[in-house]
């Protein structure tokens, strides 16, 4: 059986990689995925933060001071604008985030209850957290003065004037910013998941193509059993997906210097576990499809939407709660969740639930596929 399997594996690999298209699909695309992740998140790495400011609070001194405070922050470049332009510029990535000082902002600080300030961004916490935390500290101080004055405007002005005389002391210490690397890793793994799933269906689809061109009949009329043949296809699948995993991680770390913060020894096994689930799903698709074109249609119908829902194309945090709950039923979610947890410092050994769920997906898909294969293995179709 091993000799037969080896013979079949060699033939499938030779046939697959003699076409340039296969090199592009199986090897090139995962690398392209890493490149796209770099392009998406690389521009925020260590650069200047572009903040648009909309002042709807008029000439209030407190508001003007707050704007000057933001302007004075290190690596922040402000642009005074109006609300409509701000939204357009953020959408067009001309600005990283926007601050809206609404009417009543200064008055709320005088009362000691800061309100009417909005911070907007589409790039998430990684670009807003810096401005937000420092501005909160500044506003907190002014609000504390407002609370101390207890509505006495003269007392507030006196205290505020004294506060302005002192320089706001800020001691900055550089630490390594890993948020961007995390985002790039997440995105690159998201793309890798998609490519792995498509690759797996393409490879498993070879079974249907063999049936269509009648070579499957020849194979089954030889001493090779259908079980050996399907198993050889699964092994080819595992080999190619493993190459994709290792190549993507190597390119990320060594060539593009994207440090995921997760050792290869942890990343490869968990990705390989997901690969098994992807292969299980591809067997399921092939078992239910009547032709290779049918399998192609099913592949598009299943893989693209589920990858979208599980956050392979953009962070799941920006999706509504209801959709995030749906993603709990998808294997992609559990892989991305594992990667996220490992990056946040969770120990590898504490992810046993994630591993069990991924394994359960692989086993369930494969079992249903085997049952279905057994039911429709009617050679009348091939004679």
């Amino acid at each position: 059986m091993l000799k037969d399997m080896n013979w079949l594996i060699r033939k499938t690999l030779n046939n697959t990689f003699r076409s340039k298209k296969s090199w592009l699909v199986y090897i090139g695309l995962p690398i392209v995925g890493v490149l796209i992740s770099m392009l998406l998140y690389g521009n925020t790495n260590g650069g200047v933060l572009r903040v648009g400011i909309v002042n709807m609070d008029g000439d209030q001194a407190i508001t003007q001071d707050a704007i000057r405070f933001v302007e004075g922050l290190s690596k922040v470049e402000i642009t005074l604008t109006d609300e409509k332009t701000l939204n357009n510029d953020i959408a067009a990535s001309k600005l990283d985030s926007g601050l809206l000082f609404e009417q009543g902002f200064a008055a709320s600080l005088r009362e000691g209850k800061p309100e009417h300030l909005n911070l907007v961004s589409v790039k998430g916490a990684q670009v807003t957290v810096y401005v937000k935390s420092l501005l909160q500290s500044y506003i907190g101080n002014v609000a504390a003065i407002g609370q101390t004055a207890q509505g006495d405007q003269a007392a507030f002005d006196a205290l505020y004037s004294e506060y302005r005389q002192h320089n706001f002391k800020l001691t900055a210490e550089s630490v390594k910013d890993t948020s961007n690397m995390k985002a790039m890793t997440y995105q690159a793994i998201g793309f890798l998941i998609t490519f792995m799933m498509f690759s797996s269906v393409n490879l498993t689809e070879l079974i249907l193509k063999e049936k269509e061109n009648r070579t499957f009949l020849r194979l089954l009329s030889s001493p090779v059993s259908a079980r050996t043949y399907v198993l050889s296809n699964v092994i080819v699948n595992i080999l190619i997906l493993l190459i994709q995993i290792v190549l993507t991680l190597f390119m990320m770390k060594t060539v593009f210097k994207i440090d995921s913060g997760i050792p290869y020894g942890q990343m490869i096994p968990i990705l390989l576990l997901f690969a098994l689930a992807a292969i299980g799903l591809s067997l399921l698709i092939v078992a239910f499809a009547k032709s290779s074109s049918g399998a192609g249609a099913l592949q598009n119908l299943i893989i693209t939407p589920t990858c979208l829902l599980s956050g392979c194309y953009f962070p799941a945090e920006i999706m509504p709660d209801s959709i995030r709950k749906i993603s709990n039923f998808l294997p992609q979610h559990w892989l991305l969740d594992s990667v996220d947890k490992l990056q946040s410092g969770t120990a590898f050994g504490n992810l046993s639930l994630n591993f069990a769920i991924l394994f359960a997906f692989a086993a369930a898909f494969a079992l249903v596929a085997i049952y279905r294969f057994g039911r429709n293995n009617d050679t009348r179709l091939f004679v």
């Binding site: 033939k11 020849r218 030889s222 001493p223 050679t379 009348r380 004679v383």
Partner: protein, 311 residues
């Protein structure tokens, strides 16, 4: 000695009985013709012999061993030439034969030798580096055969190996079948072309509705129908021909039209030639020739099954 013995073989698909209690024997060294119209049960029987389908009932023994309990032995000793060409278009002729022969455990120098031998045998020795996508239909059929014989099976099953090919390739294939037989292979040959079966087969079985309705040599089969005769009438044009009118003539069993020849099968003891000619003249058919044919396999088939082989 019998290489293949089939006893009470039955295959049901739901309520449909594809093969009905079939029994037959194929002797070692013969070319056994398996004749039947579409849906007669030939391919189902072949699939069961090749262990691709499980029988509902009955036994198949190859070289004295049951193929159910000795599946691998059976597969090693059988070579199948399927009706549809089953080769890889993106592999060269050499790679195709080598791959399929390798499935039978051949490796190394022996594999190379057998692969080259099979390609030479089907006349594709000089095309071993070519891809089948550049081959003619006949060349593809020959490669289809090479893939089935490289492992030197004792029994070769050929399912319609000459469908849709040019006369040159057909002759080549028929000569190859004879040569394989001379080399010691037993062959089961199915074809829609009666003249091929008549030319190469030593024994023939006629299958209809899943049953063997006649079995024997050509001569034995023809002897079954000595009580009938074939009359072939060449005509100029067939527009006004009425087959129904001819069928009403006493003694006429079957009438069919092939291009401009009316082929009539009639009872031997009734002299109805005059009436047939008169009817054609009455139908304003211009007669070119009249011949009485000796019975052939086509007549036998028509008489036994009531239908043409190509129905």
């Amino acid at each position: 000695m019998n290489i293949l013995e089939i006893r009470n073989l039955t295959k049901k698909f739901g309520d449909f009985v594809a093969v009905d209690n079939m029994s037959l024997s194929v002797r070692e060294g013969e070319i056994f013709g398996f004749l039947g119209a579409n849906g007669a049960g030939k391919s189902t029987t072949i699939s069961m012999i090749a262990t691709l389908l499980r029988s509902t009932k009955g036994d198949i023994n190859l070289l004295g061993k049951s193929i159910t309990s000795h599946g691998k032995f059976a597969k090693t000793n059988i070579g199948i030439v399927p009706q549809d060409i089953a080769i890889y278009e993106n592999m060269t002729a050499y790679e195709n034969v080598r791959f399929f022969a390798g499935l039978y455990g051949l490796r190394g120098a022996l594999l190379q030798e057998r692969t080259e031998e099979a390609l030479e045998f089907v006349g594709l020795g000089d095309k071993h580096k070519s891809y089948p996508k550049n081959f003619s239909g006949g060349m593809k059929r020959r490669l289809n055969i090479a893939c089935a014989i490289a492992h030197r099976p004792k029994l070769i099953i050929m399912d319609e190996p000459t469908v849709g090919i040019d006369p040159h390739s057909r002759n080549y294939i028929l000569n190859s079948v004879k040569k394989l037989n001379e080399m010691g292979c037993t062959i089961i040959y199915t074809s829609h072309y009666m003249e091929e079966v008549e030319e190469i087969c030593t024994r023939i079985a006629i299958v209809d509705h899943g049953k063997i309705i006649a079995e024997g040599t050509k001569e034995q089969l023809k002897a079954i129908i000595t009580d009938t005769k074939d009359i072939w009438i060449g005509i100029k044009a067939n527009e006004s021909l009425s087959i129904e009118h001819l069928k009403q003539i006493p003694g006429v069993i079957a009438v069919r039209l092939e291009e401009n020849t009316v082929k009539i099968n009639s009872k031997g003891e009734i002299n109805n030639l005059n009436k047939i000619v008169q009817q054609l003249i009455k139908d304003q058919i211009e007669i070119r020739s009249v011949e009485e044919q000796a019975p052939n396999l086509e007549t036998v088939f028509l008489t036994l099954t009531g239908r043409n082989l190509r129905d």
